[in-house]
Symmetry: C2
Subunit: 410 residues, 2 copies
């Protein structure tokens, strides 16, 4: 993409109405735009990042047999009454249609997925199954001041699994746990992300959150350095020790919840009378699990974790472009490199803008944060190539023109 054609441009001033770092810098760099508290437009650069996160999630859900669906956002009042959550679920947006029917905007989808799955999963032969969606969700948050970390409107991957018995759910739950860690590893968040024990509800002693350490986090977790797990605030009050090794020496830290998994048991299958026939022809209750992960919150988390005073430092796996190619008054030579990179399917943002000073181009490249900066100038061409610098590093070098493609091809 040529930067001269890009819809957005960077913004120098810190947005006045935005207190969170992730939103401030994502707005300044042109990734998102604020519509209201907790409500953002995703702009071309931001949508590229979001789609890359979504595709990593899809990839890993496929490895655990997750089938993608897309459920309705308008959800009828009756299904929420069936589970007694119409008045009890925190932060439902409610509205009334022309037909005088009441709806909630989907904040989570147990109430939709259970009656849906009931239509198709009737026999033990049809279990287990697992379906997920990546969808815009709505929560009527009283405070939404953390940018992409807490939205009134945000993206969520929510998966639901259906099992014939507890052992099957337990096994699948462990597979999901492993898939989640593969996702965080691909996002560069693995080292900072802790499996965190949380309250489990009626059907399990614990559920699990995935918490990524950062000072911007709204949660507090308590880390056991022996086991490399943590517990959340709820659990620390009940058990003042690590649930794995009973170690009492836990370290408090601030963190962002980047995922959570939960054994629902029969809570929702009971409410919707979802049963299956076992191999003896007996009706049995279906056992469920649910597995959430927020792609837009993850985008905000990555920005909180990977940055310096000059801007964002995107992990290569979700960077809007792999390369930011800057032409310093050498558009002809730079354009040849640009076309060659495109021909080889290497993602590149080409700063071809003619009236922008070198200093401003460097500042933009640092703010936007693509992994590699290539600079084409009279000086670099004289030195036999293009200047190359990795985003977080200060080390520059010259790469010969004929080695560029090879360097960036997989």
């Amino acid at each position: 993409m040529k930067q001269s054609q890009l819809f957005t441009k960077t913004i120098k001033e810190i947005p006045k109405d935005e207190t969170s770092f992730n939103a401030q810098i994502l707005i300044r760099a042109g990734f998102v735009d604020k519509v209201g508290a907790g409500i953002y437009n995703f702009l071309p650069l931001g949508l590229r990042v979001l789609n890359k996160i979504n595709n990593i999630v899809r990839d890993e859900m496929a490895t655990i047999s997750g089938q993608e669906v897309l459920m309705a956002a308008l959800t009828p009042k009756e299904v929420w009454q069936t589970t007694d959550r119409w008045d009890n679920f925190d932060a439902l947006f409610k509205l009334v249609g022309n037909d005088d029917k009441e709806y909630a905007l989907g904040a989570t989808h147990e109430e939709i997925v259970t009656p849906l799955a009931k239509k198709f999963l009737c026999s033990y032969k049809e279990l287990p199954k697992s379906i997920y969606q990546i969808q815009v969700k709505f929560r009527n948050e009283p405070r939404a001041k953390a940018g992409l970390l807490r939205g009134r409107e945000f993206f969520m991957k929510d998966m639901y699994s259906f099992h014939a018995n507890q052992a099957d759910l337990d096994q699948y739950y462990e597979e999901v746990k492993a898939a989640y860690f593969r996702i965080y590893a691909r996002l560069g968040l693995e080292d900072l992300t802790y499996l965190t024990y949380s309250s489990g509800g009626a059907f399990s002693q614990f559920s699990h959150e995935f918490q990524t350490l950062t000072e911007a986090g709204e949660d507090h977790i308590y880390i056991c350095s022996d086991c490399r797990v943590a517990v959340n605030r709820e659990i620390i009050k009940e058990h003042n020790f690590c649930p794995v090794c009973q170690n009492k020496n836990l370290t408090e830290a601030k963190a962002i919840e980047v995922g959570n998994i939960f054994k629902l048991g029969t809570k929702f299958s009971k409410a919707f009378d979802m049963k299956y026939m076992d191999d003896n022809g007996q009706a049995q209750e279906v056992i469920m699990g649910c597995y959430g992960l927020g792609p837009s919150r993850i985008m905000g988390t990555v920005v909180e974790v990977f940055n310096d005073q000059r801007g964002i430092i995107w992990p290569e796996s979700i960077a809007p472009f792999k390369i930011h190619l800057l032409s310093l008054k050498e558009n002809e030579a730079a354009n040849e490199i640009y076309l060659e990179l495109i021909k080889n399917n290497i993602e590149v943002l080409f700063d071809d803008r003619e009236e922008i000073a070198a200093g401003e181009k460097f500042a933009d490249a640092d703010l936007i944060g693509c992994p590699y900066r290539l600079v084409v100038s009279a000086k670099t061409l004289q030195a036999g190539g293009v200047e190359i610098k990795a985003r977080p590093s200060d080390q520059m070098g010259i790469i010969p023109l004929n080695q560029i493609i090879n360097k960036f091809s997989h």
Copy 2:
């Protein structure tokens, strides 16, 4: 995908609460599920089709320099008041947040895109630009009885373009028209789809709809067979003739509006005071166009147009799978073919279900409507291969095992 693993199964009964053919058959075949009037869940097969339509649209929007974004669905009351549409826009869903702020659910996005574009498009050098999104939209429809043709919640591609002058908009408008016809051609709808003259508003004599002929259509159009254009009901009342050739002999037909394009002029840029600096440093009003197209409505339209009494007949470009491979008690041989097809990136649904009779497998294949049916049975293997049949045809033949990949590779 193995059909034994597929989340859905086909349904024999016609859903009682559904009067439209497209929804009846899409529900029976397992593409969608009804949540309420005009509200559907997209299931694995249906989401595959929807994504294919979306990707064709993305492809063609890229050829006319459209940049993809994703705007908020929660839109603040104030922006609708700015354009005087809070009380005047037909069918806005409205709701109140915890902060006592009022919102509309996005039914269209001029009120969001104009203040957004105003932040970035300030100089003649930054024009023209065109941005689009593919997004779930909400309309508080009083009647929603036409299945995917009229949703309370539905998918829309909405594009907005910004120009320095009318001539530039006029030229871009023609480019969009051509891109739309390329989309309909790729969907197999070209021959049935008419450029239809519609009322133009304050800034243009006409706007244009794209109307696809089918008895299921809720619109009436009046076709000039000389020019291959049509006019809609509004226009026939004003001008009782073809606006291109003045022919008065127009033929009435029922049709579905599968797209519409509109020259907005300065209506929204005036409302939001969006101006740009021209090359003399003078502030000028930005000229806008908007371009809608409904991927989920198109999915319903395709089903209304391409079907027979046995089921859906998907065009290859958007079929959920290219091939439906049926094993009649020959799972081992069929599985080898399945793996070979997958290895060659040929999309295949493999009916590997062991306790399902041949007749039911044939009926499912016809109902689901993949373009090619391959049957593996003792008989076909004895005849040296696999039975092949194109979905709409009754002609069957045997294709040798070693020619299958070649036949379906591009």
